[in-house]
């Protein structure tokens, strides 16, 4: 699974992307955030408040209960501020 981080999530986690294989029980966006949060202090800082994190699965906005599968591209980022 390819995981991408943008804006301050990228800065706090210290990388823009990584390939990870979460265990099978990590089957939703919310579970993935919980699993990532335990990976280290940078992740814990970036993901402390899931309510302010937006997620895209395969480049489509996804809700916390959306399923994730091996091979997906999952992006985590703050609310967008373009325009």
């Amino acid at each position: 699974m390819k995981i991408l981080y943008f804006a301050w999530l990228r800065q706090r986690i210290g990388r823009a992307e990584e390939d990870l294989e979460p265990p099978a029980e990590v089957a939703t966006v919310a579970a993935l955030i919980d699993w990532l949060r335990a990976r280290g202090p940078g992740y814990a800082a970036a993901l402390a408040n899931p309510a302010i994190i937006r997620v895209a699965v395969n480049q489509e906005f996804a809700r916390a209960d959306a399923p994730i599968r091996a091979g997906d591209e999952v992006a985590l980022f703050p609310p967008v501020t373009g325009g």
Binding site: A7, A75, P79, V80, T81, G82, G83
Partner: protein
């Protein structure tokens, strides 16, 4: 048509190209977004702004937003150009333009594109101030502006 680019754009040339050859068009509405030198409740001075985006998803979302506008209004031509990278006050960030037979569709579609772009297109602004850099926070009224076009709660994702 959508474009995501680092370079500046020529508003006059882009608008002229959009309507060339289609004489059914009676109205062309456009919006240009610029980098302001003031931001926040305290009007902090901004020296520059860096726009980060999600290559791939950005283009996909802009195409989807443009298609939504095309389904909703009788648009003959539309254009979204959004820049990324480091920009300074006064620089152009975004151009949205819609051409139609009559002005109402052009005005409404242009505003719709801009409202939706602000809540759906994956861009993030990092401001440089005298006190350091800070990420711009999403504004609640941007969500409200997008939501008025629909009863779909996803509008304010």
């Amino acid at each position: 048509m959508i474009r995501v680019q680092r370079e500046d754009f020529d508003v006059g040339a882009e608008l002229a190209a959009l309507t060339t050859g289609n004489h059914a068009i009676g109205g062309l509405a456009s919006f240009v977004g610029l980098v302001r030198d003031l931001h926040g409740p305290d009007d902090t001075g901004i020296k520059a702004m860096t726009l980060e985006h999600y290559p791939g998803m950005t283009e996909k979302m802009l195409r989807e937003i443009e298609a939504k506008a095309g389904h909703r209004w009788p648009i003959d031509a539309s254009l979204i150009i959004h820049r990324y990278g480091r920009l300074e006050p006064g620089d152009r960030i975004v151009l949205v333009a819609c051409a139609s037979r009559h002005r109402d569709a052009a005005f409404d579609a242009c505003r719709f594109l801009m409202d939706w772009l602000k809540t759906k297109a994956p861009f993030w602004k990092l401001e440089e101030t005298a006190h350091g850099s800070r990420w711009v926070e999403a504004r609640r009224n941007d969500d409200q502006a997008a939501a008025r076009w629909t009863s779909d709660p996803d509008a304010a994702a």
